[in-house]
Amino acid sequence: MLDSTDSYVTEDGRTIGGVVMEMKNITLRFGGVVAIKDISFDIREGEIRAIIGPNGAGKSSMLNVISGFYVPQDGEVLFHGKPRPQMKPYEVAQQGIARTFQNIALFEGMTVLDNVMTGRLNKMNSGLLAQAIWRGKAEQEEIENREKAEKIIDFLEIQHIRKTPVARLPYGLKKRVELARALVSEPSILLLDEPMAGMNVEEKEDMSRFILDVNDEFGTTIALIEHDMGVVMDLSDRVVVMDYGKKIGDGTPSDIRNNQAVIDAYLGVAHD
């Protein structure tokens, strides 16, 4: 068993570091409904960590706990070894956590470039007045941020839609734009909520390649929720499996593939 500070090298040559985030005995309730029941797992630096499970297993709730949007009634989230206090969304972003959403949450009327630029908002320090007259620091900041945005646009190969309003884009591209907006804030942890939902095979392949490239190129730690088992098994280093709010498996893709509890949950057995 690895210690929380140990690091190791994967088969494909990536270095996975120590634990950056640890979920300890998390329980989340909405009134009488228990969405997450006593779940513990950790996320290591530089790894791709998947959370899978059937519909209603509590995956999205779990992601919301990780992102700090939901505060669990029991248990605690340790970030870099320290308990994390309740935070506002911008404070989460400032900690270097970015996310995408299951049902795309972009500004539909704005162009791709403007949408991506919003991801840089919390990196801008110049005042309202400076930005309005666009002098000095504001101008310099805008240029720096635009360069960052352009690098991500180049990285995700969306140059051709740079000036296109998001509303006019097909679904697969919108997903990519959302990823761009998350990436441009230079997160250390990236949370992806069903990045491949509703995509065709080709779009899924593109998205998988981008996720791997992001992890490889920027060393970003990625936690993702996904339905498509094939994708999850190919992409991730470790997988957490949830069913009815409980953790029923945790390990490498091959461990999970041979886990009886997981097979039962996916193929279905009679619940007593």
């Binding site: 352009e150 190969e157 490889d216």
Partner: protein, 657 residues
């Protein structure tokens, strides 16, 4: 053949032209490329420095004179530099199609025995790595974009910029050698080797000398009085001879600027931003642009639509005449000016054609409506006829003598003759040296006197001296009753409809003609949307009864027009079907330059061809398709076969011929 002096002012190689340009136009832009949303600029002297650095770097890697170096990637300044750097060290650049599959690349790399490969990115590196086991002469690879390649084994893999750095570091040591090699180049040394796409069989390596390229560039630049002030957009495959002539030959001869798009998908935006003055596009591009314009006009407000229709009708009437400098009444001229202000100008600006002084199209026949549309807007679009073996130019249209049904008069320095069977022959200083390692094919194509068979049948029009091409010589055949069968002639008429992307006509040795049709997804898809026709796939749309009805109308109109030509009236289409898949180069149905491979299609879809002739109303078929990543799959469909009305042809008419 006329022998000219050995190069003008001793400029007998492309590297020599580069040095002249660096001296003469040192501060003028030579290359531009959009990067991270901003146009980057390199002057001729900067380009010369970059090329020298790379050439020196190639020396440090041990490139020998006479080596073949493959260059694979989309149009980027760095890769153009690579070509000239390779030439500078006495090696031969071999640009390859970047969308070629690994197997296709393996054939070419093996055939030319490339020791080095310069690849654009991870995708190309992967392809070469996949096949390098079978390549005995392959040694090292240079890549341009490091993304995704950091963890690759770098024993035989070098980053482009690092090679340049190594070259710069070895400047004092290796410069004498570079100069020696550069000076050893002469008019007869090989400038480039280009592989022909090969409508038949394996690709052949066409060896072109400095004489071929420079003389052709000189003649063609003078023909259109190209100057150092031109801007072109380099977006066509680097492996294609046209791009080599336009973006390298002519650019180096005249010293104009080559602009490279940001990515393949941004070409249209980049075109608009650059506003080239000299522009080449195959008919397909012009067709697509026109289709886009028409689709967008359908969605425009009624006022705009009426304005567009009104002024376009006027442009059709007087536009070409104004462009050719003919006299037009004052009122018409005034109206055209107003139209230019309100419609033509903004439209040209949207298309990126505001500054186009000379535009060319070639490769396939262009529809008269499409051709006239652009000319009526005041865009000087002309046709040329050429091939790789001729360093492009065989014939081209001079200003003021432009028509859609001819390909123009012989280019300067080109002689033409028509053989008895109608095949067109030419000879010129652009005529290729040989097919590499293929003396047999060379002898078949080029006779001892230097005449080259084009493989196309055509005739020279009396009076004007313009060449008209009918079809590929080997495709022109007879039907069972002896009537002339020229499939391309009919296919082109069909393809002029925006709804029809591709057509393949059968009928050689048969009693009547039949056809496969490919619908154009953009045009038909938009039509379906406007008519509330739901469809889930290409296949479903292609088989929709209302689509079939529309296509049938087109076929019948074409039949009427074909019937008017007594020689070709037998080529009317009796039965047709709409294919369930788009013909694709990945499936071997088209060449990489998007030309139909008639024979392969006939064999692959034999069941469908049989069904066209045996009278069955529909046929079930299964077809293997290749996905972009090389995996194969299968699709199946039941296709409806329709009969089209034909205009009766009297026997006496045929006899009279």
């Amino acid at each position: 053949m006329t022998q000219t002096s050995e190069g003008v002012n001793g400029l007998t190689s492309v590297p020599a032209l580069l040095q002249r340009n660096a001296a003469e136009f040192g501060d003028k832009a030579a290359y531009r490329e959009k990067e991270l949303g901003i146009w980057q600029n390199w002057t001729w002297s900067e380009a010369a420095d970059e090329i020298d650095a790379l050439a020196l770097g190639l020396l440090t890697l041990g490139v020998a004179e006479g080596d073949f170096i493959a260059i694979i990637g989309r149009n980027r300044p760095y890769l153009y530099w690579a070509m000239v750097a390779v030439q500078s060290v006495g090696a031969v650049p071999v640009p390859l199609y970047s969308d070629a599959s690994a197997d296709e690349m393996a054939y070419v790399l093996d055939h030319c025995g490339a020791r080095f490969v310069i690849a654009a990115d991870q995708e190309q590196v992967d392809k070469v790595t996949d096949v390098q086991g079978g390549l005995s002469q392959f040694e090292q690879m240079i890549y341009l974009d490091p993304r995704g390649l950091r963890k690759y084994d770098h024993a035989n893999l070098h980053q482009f910029s690092k090679v340049q750095d190594a070259g710069r570091a070895a400047l004092s040591e290796l410069m004498p050698e570079l100069n020696r090699r550069r000076e050893a180049l002469n008019y007869d040394s090989t400038c480039v080797m280009l592989y022909t796409s090969g409508t038949t069989g394996k690709p052949k390596g066409v060896v072109l000398s400095n004489r071929n390229i420079i003389e052709t560039s000189r003649h063609s630049s003078e023909f259109d009085s190209l100057s150092a002030g031109e801007d072109i957009l380099a977006y066509l495959p680097m492996a294609w001879v046209g791009d080599f002539i336009f973006s390298l030959g002519q650019a180096y001869w005249t010293g104009f600027c080559v602009n490279c798009p940001e990515s393949v998908d941004t070409m249209m935006t980049d075109l608009r931003e650059i506003g080239p003055t000299y522009y080449f596009a195959p008919p397909r591009v012009f067709e697509t642009q026109l289709t886009t314009v028409m689709i967008r006009m359908e969605d425009a407000s009624p006022m705009k639509k009426r304005m567009f229709d009104y002024f376009m009708a006027h442009a059709k009437k007087v536009g070409p005449a104004i462009l050719d400098g003919e006299t037009v009444s004052g009122l018409d001229k005034l109206k055209y000016k107003l139209g230019d202000l309100l419609v033509y100008g903004p439209l040209k600006n949207t298309l990126g054609f505001s500054r186009v002084r000379i535009g060319y199209t070639a490769g396939e026949a262009i529809g008269p409506e499409i051709f006239d549309f652009y000319r009526s807007l005041g865009i000087n679009l002309k046709q040329l006829y050429g091939q790789t073996e001729a360093s492009v130019f065989i014939t081209q249209q001079p200003d003021g003598q432009v028509r859609s049904d001819t390909v123009g008069v012989p280019s300067p320095g080109v002689e033409l003759k028509i053989a008895e069977n109608g095949e067109v022959f030419y000879r010129s200083e652009g005529t290729f040296v040989e097919y590499y390692k293929n003396a047999e094919s060379t002898a078949d194509t080029k006779d001892p006197e230097g005449w080259v068979a084009t493989g196309d049948a055509g005739f020279i029009e009396e009076g004007t001296g313009h060449l008209r091409i009918i079809d590929r010589a080997k495709d022109v055949a007879n039907m069972s009753d002896g009537a002339l069968f020229a499939p391309k002639y009919v296919e082109n008429k069909l393809k002029f409809y925006p709804n029809i992307l591709e057509a393949v006509v059968f009928g050689a040795g048969k009693d009547r003609c039949t056809a496969f049709i490919n619908i154009d997804l953009t045009a038909v898809g938009n039509w379906a949307e406007r008519n509330n026709i739901a469809y889930a796939s290409y296949q479903e749309l292609a088989g929709h009864p209302r689509v079939l009805e529309t296509i049938q109308e087109h076929v019948e109109t074409v039949n009427k027009s074909v019937a008017e030509d007594p020689m070709l009236s037998g080529c009317q289409i009796h039965r047709f079907l709409v294919l369930h898949k788009q013909l694709d180069a990945d499936d071997g149905e088209l060449t990489r330059t998007q030309k139909v491979r008639r024979k392969i299609i006939g064999e692959k879809f034999e069941d469908l061809v049989n069904a066209l002739y045996n009278g069955s109303p529909e046929i079930y078929t299964e077809t293997e398709v290749t996905y972009e990543d090389g995996r194969k799959g299968e699709i199946s469909a039941t296709l409806e076969i329709r009969d089209a009305a034909v205009v009766p042809v009297t026997a006496s008419k045929i006899a009279a011929e």
